[in-house]
């Protein structure tokens, strides 16, 4: 897997093109793919994290050229085959899994609102929800969000391993340096394993 999908902060991708009176689907097949993905995840054939990871495993040039629903279709074909869903005799799992993404965590939260934190480096080559631009940066916990399925493990078939989630606020200058726009910050939802306590030496100006 490359990190082509990890687009935050990347330069040189051009202008944002907007389409007037855009239809919900541009062609009938897009709606079919949207429906199939809804079923695949809703019926419990594959977790959403596996589906997202399938998109991220696309050839990077193809990823950037592909339309949104082409990415969806490409991942769906691949992860359904890998999960055995397309095999003769596949039986869908019983609907016993809890719905949604919130779960009980095995330990109390390590951080509280107002804590200064520092992020770990972004793991490369596997599924993670720590954006690269927010790796190894200092921020402040703005909200503590209870515990959720941990995509980093769930996408790779090693379980939900629920983790506490926090909204961490980073000053634009911390993320982008001296040339950052003034009076701007980015709030990112980060799982506890991405975070370490920030030492006093790290300093932190919050916003």
């Amino acid at each position: 897997m490359t990190d082509v999908h990890d687009l935050g902060g990347r330069l040189g991708l051009g202008r944002i093109e907007r389409e007037a009176r855009e239809p919900v689907f541009h062609a009938p097949w897009e709606g079919r793919v949207c429906g199939l993905v809804n079923c695949a995840i809703g019926f419990g054939w594959i977790p959403i994290d596996v589906f997202r990871c399938g998109i991220e495993r696309m050839d990077p040039e193809r990823y950037l050229r592909a339309s949104y629903y082409e990415r969806w279709l490409t991942s769906l074909e691949r992860v359904l085959a890998e999960a055995g869903v397309l095999a003769r005799g596949y039986r869908p799992p019983p609907r016993t899994a809890p719905a949604g993404f919130e779960r009980a965590a095995s330990a109390p939260p390590r951080f509280r609102v107002g804590d200064a934190v520092r992020t770990t480096p972004r793991a490369s080559g596997r599924h993670t929800r720590l954006p690269g631009y927010a790796g190894e940066k200092r921020g402040v916990v703005a909200h503590a969000r209870r515990a959720f399925v941990f995509p980093d493990t769930n996408a790779h078939g090693v379980g939900e391993q629920p983790q506490h989630l926090y909204t961490v606020r980073f000053a634009a200058r911390e993320l982008w340096g001296e040339r950052a726009e003034p009076r701007a910050s980015v709030c990112v939802d980060l799982f506890e394993p991405y975070l370490e306590e920030s030492t006093a030496e790290d300093g932190c100006d919050g916003a």
Binding site: L13, G31, R32, R169, E181, S185, D189
Partner: protein, 210 residues
């Protein structure tokens, strides 16, 4: 490529690449139907729901209520789904948690998903293509003021910008500022002033009609 076609203007589904994708989608659906894993009618229903039922109107109704009812707004900001259910919008446990962030004269919020295209679908429907495009995902976190200006929203230099990168399963929706001059506008008349773009944070809510 697409421009080889001379019939009308090219529609996306008429070019060869799109035709190939349509065939792949049909093959996958046919196989899943044959195996008894899914019914075509179930897919039809999902498509119809996105095309006709779920859309930014839901988010607009929530905003119009929040502008009209201060207690509702407080409940919305504290526990969005709890408040949203009061409007009769149904939600299941499979819906991602929603957090509503409020614009004020001093703070402007805007939503993006840099890693994929997460979006508060239950309230806004499916995201527009520009929201899912690499330039928006790349640039909004790095140069929000420049991107907003490019999209037609000029904010005072003194306004603080807060970008929300939807990197986990929480979905964010912006509560835009109530338009000036709309103080006596009824809740029902406020709804059409709230565009999808205002709920993402790339536009202001519209001005009331004279």
């Amino acid at each position: 490529m697409a421009h080889d076609h001379d019939d009308e203007h090219d529609h996306a589904h008429e070019d060869p690449a799109s035709r190939a994708l349509a065939l792949r989608a049909e093959a996958l659906e046919a196989l899943l139907v044959e195996r008894g894993l899914v019914k075509r009618e179930a897919i039809d229903a999902i498509v119809a729901r996105y095309e006709h039922e779920i859309g930014p109107l839901n988010g607009a109704r929530v905003v119009a209520r929040a502008w009209s009812d201060a207690a509702f707004k407080q409940r919305l900001l504290a526990d969005a789904w709890g408040a949203i259910r009061e409007l009769g919008l149904t939600t299941g446990a499979e819906n991602a948690p929603i957090v509503v962030v409020e614009n004020t004269p001093g703070v402007h919020n805007v939503v993006v998903c840099t890693l994929c295209s997460c979006y508060p679908g239950a309230l806004l429907g499916l995201p527009p293509t520009w929201y899912k495009s690499p330039p928006y995902r790349a640039r909004m976190v790095r140069e929000p003021r420049a991107v907003l200006r490019e999209l037609g929203l000029e904010l005072p230099e003194s306004t603080e910008l807060r970008v929300w990168d939807s990197s986990a399963e929480i979905r964010y929706m912006v509560l835009p500022e109530r338009p000036p001059g709309s103080e006596s506008t009824s809740e029902q008349q406020l709804v059409p002033l709230v565009s999808r773009d205002a709920l993402i944070g790339v536009a202001r809510a519209g001005a009331p009609r004279e």
